[in-house]
């Protein structure tokens, strides 16, 4: 049952491997980017689940309430930055794919390799 108690890590690792596998194994440039996105999302989950404190609530100060347990907000804030980075990476990657498609007429890895020779 210990293994199940860490289910958030299992989910993280599953997502991470799905993303990483897609990134490596797929030849289509768009699919590679999707894989990269899933891979980065798994990291977001790793951080956010790390910040959860059992029984904790959102870290907003309420007047009159004492002895409230708060979740750790720092990992959430860090992931806000990581999401922005992910958006920027995806946008840049997709714009490169669009231009590759215009220049080579394909977005398949193996066809690109033949074209480049």
């Amino acid at each position: 049952m210990i293994a199940l108690g860490l289910f958030n890590y299992w989910a993280v690792i599953l997502l991470m491997m799905v993303g990483f596998y897609t990134l490596i194994a797929r030849g289509n440039l768009v699919k590679k980017l999707i894989g990269l996105n899933i891979f980065q999302t798994s990291v977001i989950m790793l951080y956010v689940s790390m910040g959860k404190v059992a029984g904790g609530t959102a870290p907003i100060l309420v007047e009159g309430a004492e002895h409230v347990v708060y979740s750790n907000p720092i990992p959430h804030v860090l992931m806000l930055t990581a999401i922005v980075v992910g958006v920027a990476t995806t946008a840049l990657g997709l714009s490169l794919v669009v231009r590759i498609n215009e220049a080579f007429g394909t977005v398949e890895d193996d066809e690109l390799r033949d074209e480049s020779l």
Partner: protein, 141 residues
């Protein structure tokens, strides 16, 4: 899109509320959940909705691509500029305490200024990305 009356009227009704919600998120960003990034995305979402329904030509008339790019740059300068103002007032970089007589007020002003910069940049960049992809013509088969 002249025949899609429901869509056009519905969009026209929705857009003001989306923009208002963006401002709500923006101005709660100092001491509560929310802030410039979310507000900027919501703002851009309203604009993208407009562009999708009324066509990118109309959208470009409302806000030409140049203005959008400028937004992206100006926002960063607002953010960094706030830091320079605090340095000019004798604090360290982004030390909001020096912005007002009372430190807690200074924190309010500082966060609002910085979030405004974030809002402008995020809005500009989101719409710029939309323009870049939507404005491209399809390749000849």
């Amino acid at each position: 899109m002249d025949d899609l009356v429901v869509l056009r009227v519905g969009t026209k009704i929705l857009i003001p509320f989306i923009l208002l919600f963006a401002l709500y998120v923006q101005f709660h960003g100092d001491y509560g959940p929310g802030g410039g990034f979310q507000a900027g995305v919501i703002f851009a979402a309203a604009y993208v909705l407009y562009a999708l329904v009324f066509g990118i030509g109309n959208a470009l008339r409302v806000m030409p691509a140049k203005v959008v790019y400028a937004c992206g740059a100006v926002g960063v300068m607002i953010f960094v500029g706030t830091g320079f103002v605090t340095m000019g007032l004798g604090g360290v970089f982004l030390d909001y305490n020096v912005l007002a007589h009372e430190p807690s007020h200074g924190q309010h002003y500082g966060i609002i200024a910085v979030e405004l910069g974030v809002l402008v940049t995020v809005f500009g960049v989101m719409v710029a990305i939309f323009y870049a992809f939507a404005g491209r013509r399809r390749l000849d088969p």
